[in-house]
Amino acid sequence: MDAIEYFEVECPEVAGGNYYRRIADVVLLDHNLLRVIKKLHIFIDPQVPIFIAVGVTKKIPHVVRIRDFADVNVQEQKVTISIGDEAYLAPLLKILWEEYGKERVNQPDRFTIVLNIEGADRARIEEIPVIDPSESLYKDLIYALQVIQPEGFKVRRQYYGKEKFYLVASENTLPEHFEDLVREKFALMGESL
């Protein structure tokens, strides 16, 4: 776990805590999330019962725009987009179809898209956002935490954004002061929500 700066599992039952440390380790590894987490603190109290996971992520790559993976060549009657990385092709096509209509978007081969439009602004096309990796990443992160949490904790509250995330889960109604608990756990890591 050397990739993570801080990783603690806090639990009144020592043996149970150790099992959950192993579970968290295995799940995060399986979901390929160890490299994005900077700090993670998990608190489980089976007496209440409650499960709280709070964490901080590393710097997440910015929004991917067309200029990041393709060259845009504007001519009078058409615009040619030469793609370097196919990974973003599908979402890009979807955006272009919506923007210009399917009949104007041609794809003569795998790496080329031709837009039949007049007088396009090159800079504007280059700046079109294609994918926001943080969105799917936080969703994956929350999903992984749901996998880690004890089975049957169906009442959940989650939050993510600004490089911080948390998940609180229980089988009962969540306590009213659960946000204070979350802040408390962030403070243990030397962070604040």
Binding site: I23, V26, E171, N172
Partner: protein, 312 residues
């Protein structure tokens, strides 16, 4: 004749000779697997003839090993089978017990998870009670096990072996009244068991199950079933044509004091009841033919000798 459960592993070439031999000696083949060039037979054979089978099997690269769980049906009760909690520890446990000859069925409870919200419904209870033994796989926290286990065992009258995250001693301490067997340190974990210490843990589970079943066997030996379930299987397979059209791996599943026949109850229960075992004794006289809660199968519970005064 004292029949003991064994597994025979050997080449497929001339394996029918072994099958014939076991049948001629008065033994029963419970299950036969053909895996490419290899054949695995799970059988009950007379104790004094093991030597003979080993000797005849030797030139056919056959190997005979005792497998204490052949002829038993075990329920592996797991608190949830949810897809995002896979892999479950119960998968490995169920698979590992199978290697020792048991027929295991997974019973994934609809609402077994959680502490306060855990429950067992009547269908689950009845299905578990149709087995020889129930293995309960519980979680990692002793607080939860202590709280929920009384609910999960309500109405279960087959022997129970409890597996859980806390140590064996802790499990013994928190479970009251006591169950038949305990194995600690087998709680919830989210990886497959591959390392040697984990396999050792599964061996412990098998040892504990064997111990509990041996105890049960000793008890049934005091008042034995009127007909051996393995013999009943043999008779049904030879007299009911339709059983050969069933696609389950074990169309007739042998238990310690009964069998499960995977044919529809309404059509076949009267047929089965009327089958003659020997000298005018029918199955209906020595056994209860009941509808199973598992699909529309038939469950035959052989009555003990003390009840029928018949031994065939």
């Amino acid at each position: 004749m004292n029949l003991v459960p064994v597994t025979y592993k050997g080449g497929i070439y001339r394996h029918d000779e072994i099958v014939d031999l076991i049948e001629d000696l008065g033994g029963y083949i419970i299950q036969k697997h053909v895996l490419a060039q290899e054949v695995v037979l799970q059988a009950l054979v007379p104790r004094e003839d093991i030597e003979l089978i080993a000797r005849i099997g030797k030139p056919l690269t056959g190997e005979i090993t005792p497998s204490p769980l052949v002829g038993t049906e075990i329920a592996v009760v797991t608190m949830s089978l949810e897809i995002h909690h896979l892999p479950h520890a119960s998968c490995d446990v169920a698979e590992y017990i199978r290697r020792f000859g048991a027929k295991t069925n997974m019973v994934g409870l609809a609402r077994g998870f959680g502490k306060r919200i855990a429950q067992l419904n009547d269908e689950e209870r009845d299905v578990i009670n149709e087995h020889d033994l129930a293995v309960y796989l519980l979680g990692d926290f002793e607080t939860c096990i202590e709280h929920k286990f009384p609910v999960l065992r309500r109405g279960i009258h087959v022997p129970i072996v409890v597996l859980g995250g806390p140590s064996t001693e802790t499990l013994k301490k928190i479970i009251d009244p006591p169950v038949d067997g305990y194995v600690g340190n087998v709680g919830r974990f989210m990886h497959r068991t591959k390392e040697s210490d984990e396999l050792e843990m599964l061996d412990q589970v098998v040892t504990e199950i064997t111990r509990v079943l041996d105890k049960k066997r000793d008890e049934t030996a005091k008042d034995p079933p009127s007909v051996s379930p393995a013999r009943l299987m043999d008779i049904i397979e030879s007299q009911v044509e339709e059983i050969h059209e069933v696609l389950s791996p074990t169309p007739v599943t042998v238990q310690m004091t009964g069998i499960r026949v995977k044919l529809p109850y309404d059509t076949f229960a009267p047929v089965l009841k009327g089958i003659t075992i020997e000298e005018g004794v029918t199955i209906g006289e020595v056994a209860d033919v009941l509808p199973s809660r598992m699909r529309d199968y038939i469950l035959i519970r052989v009555k003990p000798f003390s009840e029928t005064n018949i031994m065939v």
